[in-house]
Symmetry: C2
Subunit: 212 residues, 2 copies
């Protein structure tokens, strides 16, 4: 089973590291990180680079592909080579997936027209501009397209997909292996739970980051 | 504030990617990945390499350092250069931290003698062989040493540490930013919750991986 994680400049690392840690452990999985060019790709913080093993053009007919989000999403969504690759890969994929604002790149490739989907809570309007209907769910599966909410939601999505591919028992074993028994010290992980002043402060910070 | 993530061959990526995603966003943070040599370091799955920006010997007096776990833990714990670096960094650090079996590397550096600590649930005996007392908690803080349980526990640890460094409000804002409102599809993330046959199957699989 060929799994491809699509990287681009200024992606958010955790978006794909949760799913990678899970999906790479499926029986028979060959997971490869790919970008327009093989080689190092720098994340949104500028403090980390991870290596694309292969160029996108050399990944043909992956069974599963995953697009992470991040401040580079708009550039990726405007990049013909990336978007064309996604549209083509989707024709034959078993699963086409995104985490966070990776959904916008799926949207730009035309995958989400008329479809329920999710993304980072701060990017709902951008998601809907591609014809998708935003669902306030952590993981949304419609046919073979699975979208996950912001960043850490990729872990929940990865386990959901692992159960589809290898059965619930195997997915549970992976969950136990990564000791995924979350105990966040605060209960502030969604806009419904966070106070308004924190939401506003974060939005200002994120707009600043995008502007920079 | 200088933060150092210590890499070694066959580390588990998610162990450090949760904390990285959080700690890199602290005000004034400069987070660097370091290894014995600067350059690519391959993870335990063999399907991913991430780049150490700098050699360990060139990271002097970090304010915070973090050691991830993974099947390479024993080699790291037996590596004089890594262990000496940790012992020296700990003399002046503000926080000395580990995720998963990274605690064993702290143990090898002599940091855990007589101390309460945690690690991956499958490595309790190895942890206690370094004189630590295993606590069945997700995050254990004793003085300036913080250890986290297996793999995904690094996210909870990262938020705990973020609150110490930048205040609870800021930590909550990061939690909202990474939409950390976990909804695992199964409740099987700890050995207390998992059925015995899944624990046994996983332990066999992990022993096979280590032997290979």
């Amino acid at each position: 089973m060929e799994i491809c994680v699509v990287l681009y400049d200024q992606f958010t690392a955790l978006d794909c590291m949760g799913p990678y840690e899970i999906l790479s452990r499926l029986p028979g999985a060959r997971l490869r990180f790919a970008a327009k060019k093989a080689g190092p790709v720098v994340t949104d913080t500028g403090m980390l680079s991870i290596n694309a093993e292969v160029a996108l053009k050399d990944v043909v007919r992956p069974d599963i592909f995953l697009v992470p989000g991040g401040p580079g999403d708009e550039a990726a969504a405007a990049d013909g080579e990336i978007v064309d690759w996604i549209a083509r890969a989707h024709e034959t994929s078993k699963w086409s997936t995104s985490v966070c604002t990776g959904a916008l790149v799926l949207g730009a490739a035309g995958l989400l027209r008329g479809l329920d989907a999710t993304t980072h809570w701060a990017s709902v309007e951008r998601l809907e501009s591609y014809g998708a209907k935003y669902m306030h769910d952590r993981v949304v599966r419609r046919g073979k397209i699975i979208t996950a909410a912001g960043v850490s939601a990729g872990i929940d999505m990865g386990l959901t997909l692992a159960a589809e591919e290898a059965g619930e028992e195997f997915a549970k074993m992976i969950q136990l292996g990564i000791e995924y028994d979350p105990q966040p010290p605060f209960d502030c992980g969604s806009p419904q739970k966070a106070p308004a002043h924190l939401r506003d402060a974060l939005l200002s910070l994120m707009q600043g980051t995008r502007a920079a």
